[in-house]
């Protein structure tokens, strides 16, 4: 049974429609990540689920009850804020205990729960400190502790790692995943960082301009993006796009004219794309030097040597940026022509509207 479900959910601020009809089901114990560029509405959506923003239209159901008009505390959620929102004048202990104090739980119970949370989060030695005396990672843990003690059905995280430096971020990412495993609770996590989304999520919801661009597991989104937006958003470096025109579509094969790069034949059953301007997509990591079913000749203008990888940046005759990611340290130099190839099976095709053609 789904624990959270959003039905035709909408949000407008005056004239501006921020969330444009979202339908989503989240099952118990799932780790769901809302990802998208800034301004896509992901934080607003999370705040609507939390009860911090009113719903303009549609329904939010948690555990089978419509919670549109319920205050946050009655929704069975706990939220971790981007800024951590710790109370600077209270000790770590009192920060974590805050929700329990509001509930007026007996001191013994408060103590039990705070100590348990502190143990999980390795904060036992910090309980008497003020938030100002803690490092960024510890503050983050206090904020999570405050959510844990409420024993919520759903945890909501609003870009919780964005204030941490890169090293700490990947550390906290792993901690959060372990926490999810241990607690088994449903977690909804907002981020603009697709790496966070790919590494943590059971299910990713890609948002674009207030609409869902695609829902799927990380690998589904990676291998079968529904549209150009998702194809470009998921994956790093970003997928290469080459513009072309369909010369023929006979029901088994689509023949695309890529201009100076030649003609490519893709196994697709669609006939609707005949004559359309389309886009071919190929991921930088799917390119190989010198071999492949389709070969492109180009010259890199910048080469980055990362040891484990080498990345070459080039511009195609049609003006498109073209990136190749190769394992190890191949013979690649700025200004020296290279031949890169790829397999037809790993090529994506998007029609004139930007939708994937399979």
């Amino acid at each position: 049974m789904s624990q959270l479900s959003l039905k035709r959910l909408e949000k407008s601020f005056n004239e501006a429609r921020i969330i444009k009809g979202i339908d989503l089901d989240v099952s118990e114990g799932e780790f769901v990540v809302f990802v998208g560029p800034s301004g896509c509405g992901k934080s607003t959506l999370l705040r609507m689920i939390a009860g911090l923003e009113d719903v303009s239209a549609g329904e939010i159901e948690i555990g089978g009850n419509i919670v549109n008009d319920l205050p946050p505390v009655q929704r069975g959620i706990a939220m971790v804020f981007q800024s951590y929102a710790l109370y600077p004048h209270m000790s770590v202990y009192e920060n974590i205990a805050f929700p329990l104090r509001v509930e007026k739980l007996p001191q013994a119970e408060v103590d039990n729960r705070v100590q348990a949370a502190a143990k999980v989060l390795q904060l036992e030695s910090r309980l008497q400190h003020r938030p100002g005396q803690l490092s960024g990672g510890q503050r983050q843990r206090v904020a999570i502790g405050r959510a844990i003690v409420r024993q919520p059905k759903i945890f909501l995280f609003d870009e919780p790692l964005s204030n941490l430096d890169a090293a700490l971020r990947s550390e906290m990412r792993i901690e959060l995943m372990e926490l999810h495993k241990r607690l088994g609770s449903t977690m909804i996590y907002v981020t603009h960082d697709q790496i966070e989304a790919m590494t943590m999520a059971d299910k990713i919801v890609v948002l674009n301009a207030g609409e869902i661009a695609q829902i799927g597991s990380p690998l589904e989104l990676y291998h079968k993006p529904d549209n150009l937006f998702v194809a470009g958003f998921i994956g790093s470096p970003k997928m290469n796009f080459i513009n072309g025109r369909v010369r023929a579509a006979n029901g088994t094969t689509v023949t695309v004219d890529l201009g100076k790069l030649g003609t490519i034949e893709l196994p697709r059953s669609s006939t609707e794309v005949a004559g359309q301007d389309v886009t071919i997509g190929i991921r930088p990591e799917h390119l190989t030097l010198g071999s492949g079913e389709f070969i492109i000749e180009t010259t890199p203008n910048i080469v980055e040597h990362l040891g484990i990888h080498t990345i070459g940046y080039a511009t195609l005759p049609g003006g498109e940026n073209f990136i190749g990611l190769f394992e190890g340290n191949p013979d690649l130099e700025d200004g020296k022509p290279m031949k890169v190839g790829f397999d037809i099976a790993q090529t994506h095709l998007f029609d004139a509207r930007g939708l994937a053609v399979y």
Binding site: G51, L52, V73, M79, F81, H89, F98, V102, R150
Partner: protein, 295 residues
Amino acid sequence: MTSTRSATLFALALLAPALLYILTIVAYPLVDTIILSFTNASLRPGYDFIGWANYERIFGAGNFTEVIIRTFVWTFFSVSLKMIIGMLGAVLLNAAIPGQALFRILTMPPWIVPMAIGIFMWGWMYNGQFGMISGLLQNFGITDGPIAWLAYGETAFWATIITDVWIGVPMVTIYFLAAMQSIPRDLHEAAWTDGAGRFYRFRRITVPLMVPAIITMSLLSLIATFNSFDIIWILTQGGPSGSTTTMIIDTYKTAMGSRRYGEGAARAVVISLFVTAFCIVYFRAVRKLQQGEAK
């Protein structure tokens, strides 16, 4: 060596205008007053140094201690009311209500209206024969006859406090409002998601985080209120029978009313000592608060 010296001279040259200004309008009158307080200066030409005689006189006989106590009581009630009403005002102005901007503007008149005009307005309102307060109370049948609020010691004491509060509240309100708005919104949202209602949040988040602002404002208000002269002077001139005579009024009456400049100066010096003490407390508090913030 030379370069350090010229740097010092240059710094002094830059400071000179400000130093000159302070010496002329602060240091000179202060020193002059202290000197005067050891003399028997009056309207008669010339004066003699009489040592501690003025101080012995004001502390030895008469009602000076009574005046000091009255000043503290008057100041205590006035400052407390300003803080409480100012806080309430800030809470109301901070609430998301329609016409918020209008209400914010409406709090300003007591502060903007020239003080003397505001005080005269209150003087009329307190009037027994044609005053608004007395009239309203009679119309509603709360009092039987007219009450001249400034004619009795007890009522005059409170009337002057109320007027002082009326004039002082806008600044406190605006200051508290600014402090309230500097509290991150996230803190309130986090507490609200945890089920904390308005009053709970006010008690456990807003007030504790406003402590620096409350301390700062209380001390500043204390210093200003302690020396509040115009309100009392215009309304009651310290009367009836001394019931609203605070230290500053007392000093003025002695020096300007009775023309006993030497003794008036001695009373002024005592005021200065109190205010200096308040200032020391204020600066210490500010330093402590800043250190607390830095932690």
